[in-house]
């Protein structure tokens, strides 16, 4: 059994979006290195509840690194010190006895703080609703093998599709840009033949929504790629930009005309 450790936490506490927040210090004592980071917070929270204090609110759900609901800035890095690892998959063996750990929510204009470390990422859903899909109403598609797709394209699409929508990319970016997230979805669908009919309208609509949500723009810092727990690559942003330019140059307004009769 590995030796337990003691830590000090500096945690951002904020009652809701309207109130100001502040850092509060808590001890985290007798922590097993086998615990996950969120299990360590569970232990601290159990102690707070027993004392009648409000526990630290943080988002989480699957705790296996795939749902994308968890996420906090740990010592200045989204999801903490371990590469390609979500907050829930980070384990306490990454820390040592006596460490001080600072915890903050994702900080971006587009993500209002709901409470403590919990933010509202509804902007991401609205960007997908604006165009992050292939229109394939239930029952309409043809046989799945009728459309062979080169393995390398399918693999690249899958690389982009691995995005979990956690928004660490936004939190890491000095401009709070969402372009890694948006470009991952655009790339996935642009790499597949099924995605071609809506390829250019998709990029236009998603980028327009991204701007409307007041995310910043990409200035090639690459912080997003370093912070991404799923290894989404900057090349997706390049692909999005190419498609966006093409979409802008070739844009033709709808011809209108009725279909009645």
């Amino acid at each position: 059994m590995a030796k337990h450790i003691n830590l000090t936490l500096h945690v951002w506490r904020q009652k809701n979006a309207k109130c100001d927040g502040k850092f509060v210090e808590y001890p985290a004592a007798d922590i097993s290195p086998d615990m996950s980071f969120l299990e360590m917070l569970d232990v601290v929270n159990e102690g707070l509840i027993r004392k009648g204090e409000e526990p630290i609110t943080f988002d989480h759900d699957c705790r296996e690194g795939i749902c994308g609901q968890c996420g906090m800035v740990i010592n200045g890095r989204p999801h903490g010190p371990k590469e390609r690892t979500t907050s829930c998959q980070l384990h306490m063996r990454s820390f040592k006895d006596g460490d001080t750990i600072t915890l903050e929510p994702w900080r971006a204009e587009a993500f209002p703080v709901l409470k403590d470390l919990m933010v509202d990422r509804g902007a991401f859903d609205r960007i997908i609703a604006a165009g992050g899909f292939i229109s394939a109403p239930t029952g309409s598609p043809q046989d799945a093998n009728a459309l062979p797709i080169p393995k390398e394209n399918a693999d690249l699409a899958m690389d982009a599709a691995a995005c979990i929508g956690c928004a660490a990319c936004v939190a890491a970016c000095p401009n709070a840009s969402a372009m890694l997230f948006v470009s991952a979805k655009i790339s996935q669908l642009a790499l597949l033949p099924q995605g071609q009919p809506e390829r250019y309208i998709r990029v236009r609509d998603m980028v327009a929504q991204m701007d409307a949500e007041e995310f910043g723009t990409c200035t090639n810092h690459s912080e997003c790629e370093a912070a991404c727990p799923k290894g989404i690559k900057m090349e997706n942003i390049a692909r999005m930009n190419r498609d966006f330019i093409k979409a802008s140059l070739t844009y033709r307004p709808p011809t209108g005309g009725g279909g009645a009769g």
């Binding site: 097993s32 569970d42 009648g52 989480h60 296996e64 239930t138 309409s140 399918a154 899958m158």
Partner: protein, 639 residues
Amino acid sequence: MELNSRIPDGPIEKKWDNHKFDLKLVNPANKRKYKVLVVGSGLAGGAAAASLAELGYEVECFCYQDSPRRAHSIAAQGGINAAKNYHNDGDSVRRLFYDTVKGGDFRAREANVHRLAEVSNNIIDQCVGQGVPFAREYGGLLDNRSFGGAQVSRTFYARGQTGQQLLLGAYQALQRQVGLGAVKMFSRHEMQELIVVDGVAKGIVTRDMVTGEIKSHLADAVCLATGGYGNTMYLATYAKGCNGTAIWRAHKKGAAFANPCFTQIHPTCIPVTGDHQSKLTLMSESLRNDGRIWVPKRKEDCGKPASQIAEEDRDYYLERKYPSFGNLAPRDIASRAAKQVCDDGRGIGETGLGVYLDFEAAIKRLGQNKIEEKYGNLFEMYERITDDNPYQTPMRIFPATHYTMGGLWVDYNLMSTIPGCFVLGEANFSDHGANRLGASALMQGLADGYFVIPYTIGGYLAGIKPGTRIKADDPAVKAAEQTTAERVQKFFAINGKETPTHFHRELGKVMWEFCGMGRNEAGLKKALQLIPQIREEFWKNLRIPGSGAEVNQSLELAGRVADFLEIGELMCLDALERRESCGGHFREEWQTEEGEALRDDENFCHVAAWEHKGEGQAPVRHVEPLTFENVHLATRSYK
């Protein structure tokens, strides 16, 4: 209570076709006059909400997560079954049907399972059409792999993230409808009550998890697609937020709860490391395609590192006991076999509760690159959690609660015993009998959501006059809102000393010990004494800080734990009354000499559906007999 399964007449291959034709239709101009609520946004709920909106119904969809894309369907790793027979290896709708009925140990409805097998192929077409990046071969066609309980390769997959990709496909279809204004999405909303008027479901009450607002939503039909109740066991592979609240509160309003004791214990999860553990993580069943499961032959060797145990001193017990299925034996059988070798004192790891899943032979045969390509993300996840490199040392695994085959009873149309309340996906009991085969949960969730409910709900709505929804001032609405508000107040009023998690953990210990992999009469009776004690203590000594008018995660958890404390009792009662062993329900009194499950078809070839009779009253067990006309009742053999 009447359990009319409404299984259509005719030969099994024609039932669904005929039924679709017989169902009444709602004309396109009338569809927008009907409102449907979908609770849950996973594979079943997301697919249903999107499909119903595409048809023209007015849809409202609810989830407790911050976005519908987070639903726990996302965590399914391995794959989804379909009877495409793209690999010419003898698969067919009939074989998928047969394997699923047999895999469920003859405790599922034949007609439902056949329909599931029929629509399995449409699901793959649908998902590919949406841009789901399934694994492909170099020729550009779809790849398949094998899963437990089958001797054909029928499992489609997207690396180790199949559930994620299928869910994102459904989520994108759903968001498309949100963008079009056809679905109104309510994230961070939790259903609190089902509104029932004159025995018919007419809406729900929700709590807004950000503002605490309690509000009614009124509609012509309600679909519950809220997943399973496996978190009753506390430690499980479910997401932390997964809960049984929606189905339990519907149960209390009159929906029968079928086969609550049918839980799936998955054989390959990462073992528990200590009391702090908050959840368990699955390692995909697909790993059993290439990994070999073993323990030392001798107890004395258990403390040694795996590398120091010679080949001839290893017991590859699944290959030994089930030579024709080997490491791909069905989940219930593989889990029980792991328990048996650990009970025998041959378990590995610090706790002795573990077995090895070893890739050495596969890495030698295929090379590390090939293994990395197939399972890379799973190996990484394993290493992150355990700090062990599975390319070098075998994985340590142990069974854990993973799925509930039981759920609300539904008829062939997926309607519960409350008219107007439909139940989809894991939340219902319908297709997996006493044991679910791997890669079948994704199939069922999407089948229900994309291809069953869009037809059957039309048949129901066609019988309702448009514009007859109840009004917000209906006494039933006010009463349901009041019940919700009073429950919140009651939690705060206790003002005791212990956290909701404390009680949840206590319940979990009892459930795992007495209603887990092995069950017996004495143990279940003991659990039925202990659970009410924990529940009593919960209502006396719970502490919830903060208020109900804001984000309050302790309050959310308290509501769920209160329900788990009741669900757990019904699970134990059902397990006690089912005096046979079948699938994942293993009653130690009923086993063969070799330790296999011994069914009692004469007395228990039926669905047990429980009726709630009121607080403090004993629930009543009803029975829906099962008949097997196409797959003949036989003892399952995977030898």
